[in-house]
Amino acid sequence: MSLLEIIILLPLIAALAIWLGAPARTTSVGVSVLNLIMVLGLLFQFKSASVGKSGFAFESARTVLENPSISFGVGADGVALIMALLTVLVAFAAVWQISDDKPGIYHIASQLIAGGALGAFLCTDVFFIYAFHELALIPTFLMIALHGHGDAENCRSVAWKTTIYLGAGSLVLLAGLAWVVLEFSGGGQLTFDLNALRAQAATSPLPADKQAQIFLVLLIGFGTLVSLFPFHSWAAPAYATAPTPVAMLHSGVLKKFGLYGLLRIAMPLLPQAIHVAWLQEALLFMLLGNVLVIGLVTINQKRLDDVLANSSVMHMGYIFLGLAAGTEIALRGAVMLMFAHGISIALLFALAGRLRSQIGTLELNKLGGLGAHAPAFTILFAFGAFASIGLPGLANFAGEVMIFVGSFTNFGSAQFTSLQWTVVLALWGVVMSAVYMLRAYRHIFHGTASAGLFMTDSSLSQRFPLVLLAAALLIVGCCPWLLLGLIKSDLVAGISAAAAH
Amino acid sequence: MPPLLFYLFAALSLGFGLMVVLSRNPVTSALSLAMSFVGLAALFISLDAYFIGTIQILVYAGAVMVLFLFIIMLLDIKEEAEKRSSLGAIVGAILVASVLSVQIATVCSSLSHSKQSVADSALKLQEAGAEMTASGKSLATITKDLAAGELPDTKLMGLTLFSQYAFHLQVIGLLLLVGTVGVVVLSKREKEVAP
């Protein structure tokens, strides 16, 4: 059994064990730590690992079905490992901060989401990628419905909305994947193996316009999962309502699956699609909706959880911008931003969760002056908030600046194309994100606390995983070359190279 | 039967049938139904089914209708107790009824012997009596009546029921018994709850 398989299955086994009666917290935290260590180990091994022709290291496959060919294949390249690292980091923080009075289902759900996400990121078979993602979605719905914040009626309706949206998105995605599999299965037999599909795509590429059509279907499918405008309206209420660990894991990790899928499946198989003018412009239009419309919507929010939830939707626009630019720098920036955003939003949701459990309200107008009472909390929040603003020195900035720079690579030109105009408009979103984040920060931490509405710092051990997340933001922000060195795999480079043909 | 009488009884049956459906007052409906059954019984008799016609009147127009009226009075259902039916239901009803009628009419007209009249298929009583006597399966009273040119309808009915369908008849009896018991059980008041 390969290490990757163990990493994927361990959280699922843990979930099963907890369900069967194993001590919830111990098992859950233990497994998370174990996974964290294993993924870190893989990261260090990765440089020396033998990389196959397809760019994956640590590959192994178990055949499940001969025809159509489905196999439980795992493998990791730089991008996958970064996503895996993101998953285990956030999962660790998420399960650690679940307080003891919560029922075991919190741990079960978290482990299922983590395991599903890991599976989706590390599998090399389209069938399993899809299946693992669906596996991770189900506990999300359940937890929103059963243990969401707010009254039960609201939880139910939000859970339904999320379920319907993501279900519909997954259906479109399924159609798109089916199309891909049908188009690219060579040799008269259907195959779900990503490597085989890519080999077929490389030898007999489709005409660009057809690529764009398939890409559009995949984009809508994956885009709904990533809350791409205008398929986003599930995301904000879902995150605002979901219990803290689920909000952390979904917004931080699972949501990135859509982007990862585009990077992993859509772009390598359909490398020219994004450079087809109508598709690129459609995507630019949609992502501007994310950045500008949702940016304004975020400014209008009055509660911290709403602000965070909407900001998470908004920042997806920048990652899509990286994909839309399609150049190597921009794509790597997109990967970087996926990681950075995952960490920062998970950190912020964890802190918001603590705020809620300590004070009982997230209404910005009722909060205030916490900076004086809880300095450590304030610093952690500042890390998250300033990271999502895009302050240099924290990870998000590195991703954003690479995306922006990568969109300006028609060198020597003195003309703006639609891509560059989009960047100019999207840059205004950076100002807007500063507006709402600083507004929230000012309301929560500055000024003086209202009577009874203040909190104290948690103990060192309680905030340890959050410090870990903040440290990850800082380290990656100051030394982005550490992560960039990992993407030596040619996924990203391959996409831009293939598109150049 | 002369055509005139047929039309009279058919109209009686259908007209009062319509009354049943249309009447706002349940009592009117019940009485109309009785009248409709009388017309129907006449049609039975016109088909030489004297026994069936008789019990149609006895059982239906007599017993069952009385039961209906009794219940209506017991429950004291007033005319205005019923809300007006919804337009959809009325339209649906008319639609289904008319289409069904047309379909039935079309099907019936296309049957091979539907153009036969009673005269076309006249009863051959003597020949039948002779044959029965020859086979020895029948009772003397029946063959005597047949030989006399009369249709011993009730006797033939009895013969059929008690010989050919004797077992079924007993099952029906059992059914009635069960029905009786069931009615008793159903009508029993539930345990009195102290007011």
């Binding site: - | 049938g17 039961l67 429950l75 289904v96 009628s101 009635l176």
Partner: protein, 105 residues
């Protein structure tokens, strides 16, 4: 001349009338009456066929036996049905079918 067709059409119309009543009326007792009407219409068809399908020159008494059974069963059914209506009325204080929606799937 009165042919078999006449009888069958009368029977069909009576049946359709009854059916229309079942659909359109809301008073459960009247619906019951309409049901009886439909049964009787079926009886008419049976008797008509028994008269026009002669067996050895006599009407087909098998059909008439069936009519007999039908009438018997209908009588039993009316008794039980009305008992049910009474029981229903006790709990709902109404004979309106709208009040009875327990069949909801």
């Amino acid at each position: 001349m009165i042919t078999l067709n006449h009888y069958l059409i009368v029977s069909g119309i009576l049946f359709a009338l009854g059916f229309a009543g079942v659909i359109a009326r809301r008073n459960i007792i009247i619906i019951y009456m309409c049901l009886e009407m439909m049964l009787s219409a079926a009886n008419l068809t049976l008797v008509a066929f028994s008269r026009f399908n002669l067996v050895d020159g006599l009407p087909d008494y098998t059909a008439q036996a069936l009519v007999f059974f039908t009438i018997t069963v209908a009588a039993a059914e009316v008794a039980v049905g009305l008992a049910i209506i009474v029981a229903l009325f006790r709990s709902k204080q109404s004979v309106d079918v709208e009040a009875v929606t327990k069949l909801q799937g």
